[in-house]
């Protein structure tokens, strides 16, 4: 396992150079290209990007939940605590999912089985992965309901999903995901479908649970406000690639990639006038369109000729190895010599 940073903590998850492709009209098109990132225990990595940039596909790739008939992870490696997930059989993956790593989804309203009680659904995972008896599993499920702060949990244990509000259901989903103390939690836009006030509560809960359990979290969102409140590090994705990665304060202080910069400018803020909102002109190129250079080039105001020809590598920004960007113009890249290899 290659550890790039001199940190005492080994990463929980390290993804290296994965490419996930989908078959469209008989041809394979990459939705995620050459993507690498890692997360350490008790760390939250936010993956940010607009719809279609490949952030959800990234999470599904890590879970190995890409549909086998239409998609494939064609290269790279995904290691969970050193274990190569791409080499695992489907049965081994079933043992890992929901146990060592789990995932919560965007739609709490439909992500619970309507004909099973809340208690049974939480207990199911414990009985399945841990082989607990019904009584032990129910006792633990009740603890989990209390952990995610469901009010008067014992009386709600036998309730069905339709008796819960969206925020409460998301709490239940979190309880299910955390039932077996995963080392890694993948949260795919867990607050997007919720009211703003409920969003804040869920974010606070996730942050608290992360502190308490020391798990690593990958938080996928398109909402930069959410990023600011929960993330330790941020990876910005565009067109299937990470185009900038930095600790959260640095990203907000010094957005380097023109896309990150534009994204921050297009975010509505209470402390600024509405007229200062700057939408990004143009559109994300569809994954069926292949470009030899930077995917953002045709929307980029700083575009130089090289951007169209060659994909820039992730390079440090301002000499800081923890802040990297994929930009010929802004990152520390020698302008003349070609680095692409």
């Amino acid at each position: 396992m290659s550890d790039t940073l001199n940190s005492p903590l080994q990463p929980v998850l390290s993804v290296e150079n994965i490419t996930t492709e989908f078959r469209i009209n008989g041809a394979w098109h990459p939705a995620v290209r050459d993507l690498s990132f890692s997360v350490k225990p008790n760390e939250t990595l936010a993956i940010v990007g607009e719809s279609g940039c490949g952030k959800s596909i990234t999470a599904l790739s890590v879970m190995r939940l890409i549909s086998k008939t239409q998609g494939r992870i064609s290269s790279g490696s995904i290691r969970l605590q050193g274990r190569d997930l791409l080499a695992c059989s489907e049965r081994e993956m079933e043992a890992i999912r929901g146990d060592a790593m789990s995932m919560i989804f965007q739609e709490p309203m439909t992500s619970l089985n309507p004909v099973m009680t809340i208690g049974d659904q939480i207990a199911e995972s414990l009985r399945y992965h841990r082989g607990l008896s019904r009584r032990q599993a129910n006792a633990r499920a009740l603890e989990l309901l209390e952990l995610v702060k469901i009010p008067s949990a014992p009386s709600r244990f036998k309730d069905y999903p339709h008796q819960f509000s969206g925020g409460m259901r998301q709490r239940v989903m979190i309880a299910m995901a955390l039932a077996c103390d995963p080392q890694l939690l993948l949260a795919d836009e867990p607050t997007t479908a919720l009211d703003v006030t409920i969003q804040v509560q869920i974010l606070a809960l996730l942050a608290e649970l992360k502190e308490r359990t020391g798990m690593a979290m990958v938080f996928i969102t398109h909402n930069l406000g959410v990023v600011a409140s929960i993330a330790d590090r941020v990876a910005v994705m565009y067109g299937g690639r990470i185009i900038e990665e930095a600790p959260v304060e640095q990203l907000f202080d010094r957005p380097t990639h023109p896309y990150t910069e534009a994204l921050l400018r297009s975010m509505p803020r209470v402390d600024r006038d509405r007229s200062e909102l700057h939408p990004i002109p143009g559109q994300v190129p569809p994954i069926t369109v292949r470009t030899p250079g930077c995917r953002y080039a045709d929307r980029c105001p700083l575009r130089i000729e090289r951007c169209i020809r060659e994909v820039p590598p992730l390079a440090p920004v301002g000499g800081n190895p923890h802040h990297t960007a994929r930009c010929w113009v802004r990152a520390d890249l020698p302008v003349q010599e070609s680095i692409a290899s």
């Binding site: 879970m63 939940l65 008939t69 049965r91 993956m93 079933e94 043992a95 890992i96 999912r97 929901g98 146990d99 789990s102 995932m103 989804f105 739609e107 309203m109 439909t110 992500s111 619970l112 089985n113 309507p114 004909v115 099973m116 009680t117 199911e124 995972s125 399945y128 992965h129 069905y160 999903p161 339709h162 989903m173 299910m176 995901a177």
Partner: protein
């Protein structure tokens, strides 16, 4: 709200069904027939196989309410005992068809692709035979015993159950909780049986109540043409066949078992229709 009171789906189904008069009559009559069949050994006034030559073709009387057959056996007792056979054959064959057909349908709908096409192609072939012809074929090949009769009738009902299970499986499969279940590491088998099956159970049960009537009719038809349970065991179809020769002299021999079949058929169809109406999504807000 998109989510309906799902936990009470079955009890709600019962409540909606109960509101329809015809359906509740059907339910009560079906229940009565089932209870009388179960309690036949205690309810039947005479031994169904006891022959009494003096009572040969005796018409209904105070002592023998529905009369006596060619061998002087009590027709009421034979109808009560015959109901046991008819219901036993019907219920067990439909239970088998429900399990086999339901599982095939869930697998076809869940796995999709080639598996789906192969399973459904086989089901289409099975569906193209009328159930009586198919039952006849299977019994003729296997031989007329009680077990074979059940297998034969089950065989005729597998395809409709596979079809009825497949369509809602395909719909439920798309719902987020199935993906969430996969993210929790549940195997495909577990997702099919623990998460999808309870969500499509009401559709399967409605079909079962309708097909139970068909199964009872097929059993009676097979017994009538002599491919059912062997005499002297009483069955409704067999009794009609026995009484057929004397239909003009002693119509009660044919009339009462025919009425028994008619009653249970009508009752089951009323019940099934009521259940089907109750699962109609247009009635969700009643």
């Amino acid at each position: 709200m998109s989510a309906i009171a799902a936990e009470t789906r079955l009890s709600r189904l019962g409540r909606l069904m109960w509101r329809r008069k015809a359906a509740s009559v059907g339910a009560i009559v079906t229940l009565l027939v089932i209870v009388s069949a179960i309690l036949a050994p205690w309810l039947a006034p005479y031994d169904p196989n006891e022959q009494n030559i003096l009572l040969n073709l005796a018409p209904p009387s105070d002592e023998y309410l529905l009369g006596n057959d060619t061998y002087g056996r009590d027709i009421l007792s034979r109808i009560l005992w015959g109901g046991r056979v008819s219901l036993f054959v019907g219920v067990s064959s439909i239970a088998i068809a429900m399990i086999v057909g339901g599982l095939l349908g869930i697998i076809a709908g869940y796995v999709g692709g080639r598996t789906d096409r192969v399973i459904m192609a086989v089901m289409d072939v099975l569906l193209s035979f009328p159930s009586l012809v198919m039952g006849l074929l299977v019994v003729a090949v296997l031989g007329p015993t009680l077990t074979n009769l059940i297998i034969a009738i089950a065989f005729t009902a597998i395809a409709p159950f596979a079809r009825i299970a497949r369509a809602p499986t395909m719909a439920v499969k798309q719902r987020d909780f199935v993906e969430a279940g996969r993210a929790l590491g549940f195997s495909d088998l577990r997702i099919m049986l623990v998460h999808i099956l309870p969500n499509i159970m009401d559709e399967i049960l409605v079909l079962a109540s309708l097909w139970l009537a068909t199964a009872i009719r097929t059993e009676a038809s097979l017994s009538f043409i002599g491919l059912g349970v062997r005499p002297p065991t009483a069955t409704w179809g067999g009794m009609i066949r026995d009484g057929f020769e004397n239909m003009l002299d002693a119509p009660w021999l044919v009339l009462f078992p025919s009425l028994a079949i008619l009653i249970i058929m009508v009752a089951l169809n009323l019940l099934g229709d009521g259940l089907r109406d109750a699962t109609d999504p247009k009635l969700r807000h009643e």
